[in-house]
Amino acid sequence: MRVRLVRDLLDNQLIDAADQNAGKVDGIVLELCDGEPARVRYVEVGPVTLARRLNRRFGNWVARLDKRLGEGRGEPIRIPISRISLEEPSLRVDLVAEKTPIMALEQWLRRAIVSRIPWS
């Protein structure tokens, strides 16, 4: 199947194995080998990649802030391309986002703020 990287992959929605939104494809990692066409190895997810696309300095600032969320944060979150398949209207990723650093901010907000609001 022909996939156009920018139109069909970059900035597309990821849905995880539990049918939850797992973010957008914020970046694509290509592998370059001599004499061979470039290969897509990973997609990147998360605010660090996204902010670096907008502005590198801003991205570095976001990375420092993001690092406070714990292990696996403060740097781009990479998902091997082999774990992603096209499932219209989104991309399906065969992992559970809640068990990865992708949801670290969501989990922190849930724990630190939402759970303290009565009847939430």
Partner: protein
């Protein structure tokens, strides 16, 4: 059968949810100063929002994407940030105007100056969003908004000159103060064609899991619901033309607004006006807040949904919490809600091409809509209206500010 019950409900909510501080204020100003002459702008704005709402519903039903989600996907993050930020900041002003509207309604009822009510109103709206469901907000509050039919009853009982009114359905040039005339014209367009409305609508369609069988009912809701909604705006203009214009009353401060109904109907009219303002503005507050949070959550791929528990979409829920707080702080400063309303409506008009034209590109993309892409007439109508509204607004806003009104 269930689908057609949904159509009836959709029409009721569109009618009940149409009026808010922007449409009430701008229609009242138009009627007070130019009698029926600006009726055509309401007709034009209503036609435009009707077309856009139909497109937003069709887009969600066919593509299963919300507009913000598809905009990021189709145009990439750099381009997406432009409409996102522009709509976000202008809608924050509109939201502040709506919160101000609720606060002013409470001031009318209690006599306590409106800024005091900014935080309690934000808390009330937050409680509705945090603990309520999408259908409660969309159907419940909007159905209560049917109270605004009182403007039609008062308008008809005051006996307008129907021929003179019909003659103003077509555009005409002003006899006096042209800059002010065009400023009010674009404010009316901004009040009718609010980008948050179709972001909200497409998100609602996804929340309610629309598919292609919803295309026909959606068309009917958009046409009939928005059509009757626009009719309510015309009714406000007619009442202002018959109550304010003969007495030489210009709407220059918000405290004059209840006179619209209290002059013809006394104390009952005053209470009906305060009730209408309260209900319509709290409904619009909830809708704008949700629309902005939807736009951000969908643009960044988070979990979102008014029907989810806040613990299941913490980023989304806390985003609308912060949005409400930020807008209520603007009201707390005591900025005149009337000035905030007219300015935010005119700014909305100026920003329309940035908010709408990318959406129009999506509506013509077969990847999303297959055989259901737009026809040329709909495209042309939207391009002409939005570009003209924007150009006139960009010229009229500085002139109005320099004119000191």
């Amino acid at each position: 059968m269930k689908r057609w019950l949904g159509v009836a409900l959709g029409i009721v909510t569109s009618i009940g949810g149409f009026l808010e501080i922007g449409s009430i204020t701008t229609a009242a100003q138009a009627g007070a100063e130019y009698r029926y002459q600006l009726t055509w702008t309401i007709v034009l704005g209503t036609a435009c929002i009707g077309l856009l709402i139909e497109m937003a519903g069709r887009f969600a039903a066919v593509s299963k994407h919300t507009i913000a989600d598809a905009m990021r996907e189709r145009f990439g993050i750099h381009f997406f940030m432009v409409p996102l930020l522009l709509i976000f900041f202008i809608s924050l002003l509109v939201l502040a105007a709506e919160i101000g509207g609720v606060a002013v309604a409470i001031e009318f009822l209690t006599g306590v100056h409106f800024p005091v009510w900014a935080i309690p109103v934000a808390l009330l709206a937050w409680g509705l969003l945090w603990y309520g469901t999408f259908s409660m907000i969309e159907n419940g509050i909007s159905a209560l908004g049917l109270i605004t039919i009182v403007f039609v009853i008062v308008g008809v009982r005051l006996g307008p000159d129907w021929h003179a009114l019909a003659a103003r359905l077509l555009p005409s040039l002003p006899d006096k103060e042209p800059a002010h005339y065009w400023f009010i014209a674009v404010s009316i367009l901004g009040a009718s064609v609010s980008p948050y409305l179709f972001y909200f609508y497409s998100s609602g369609a996804i929340e309610e899991k629309w598919d292609e069988t919803h295309i026909a009912p959606n068309r009917m809701v958009a046409a009939v619901g928005m059509g009757f909604g626009g009719f309510l705006s015309v009714a406000v203009l007619v009442v202002a033309a018959l109550v304010f214009a003969p007495r030489g009353i210009k709407v220059e401060e918000y405290k004059q607004l209840p006179l619209l109904l209290s002059i013809p109907w006394g104390r009952a009219g005053f209470l009906l006006f305060a009730g209408s303002l309260f209900i319509t503005c709290i409904g619009a507050t909830a809708e704008i807040t949700l629309a902005l949070a939807y736009e951000i959550a969908q643009g960044f791929g988070w979990n979102w949904g008014e029907d989810l528990e806040p613990s299941d979409d913490a980023r989304f829920s806390l985003t609308y919490t912060v949005i409400l707080l930020a807008s209520s702080l603007l009201v707390l400063t005591g900025i005149d809600p009337l000035k905030m309303t007219t300015l935010s409506m005119a700014l909305t008009s100026a920003s329309l091409p940035v908010a709408i034209l990318p959406f129009l590109v999506l509506m013509n993309d077969r990847k999303y809509l297959g055989e259901h892409t737009n026809g040329w007439l709909g495209n042309l109508a939207i391009v002409v209206i939005t570009v003209l509204a924007s150009v006139v607004a960009i010229v009229a806003i500085p002139l109005e500010i320099m004119g000191g009104s």
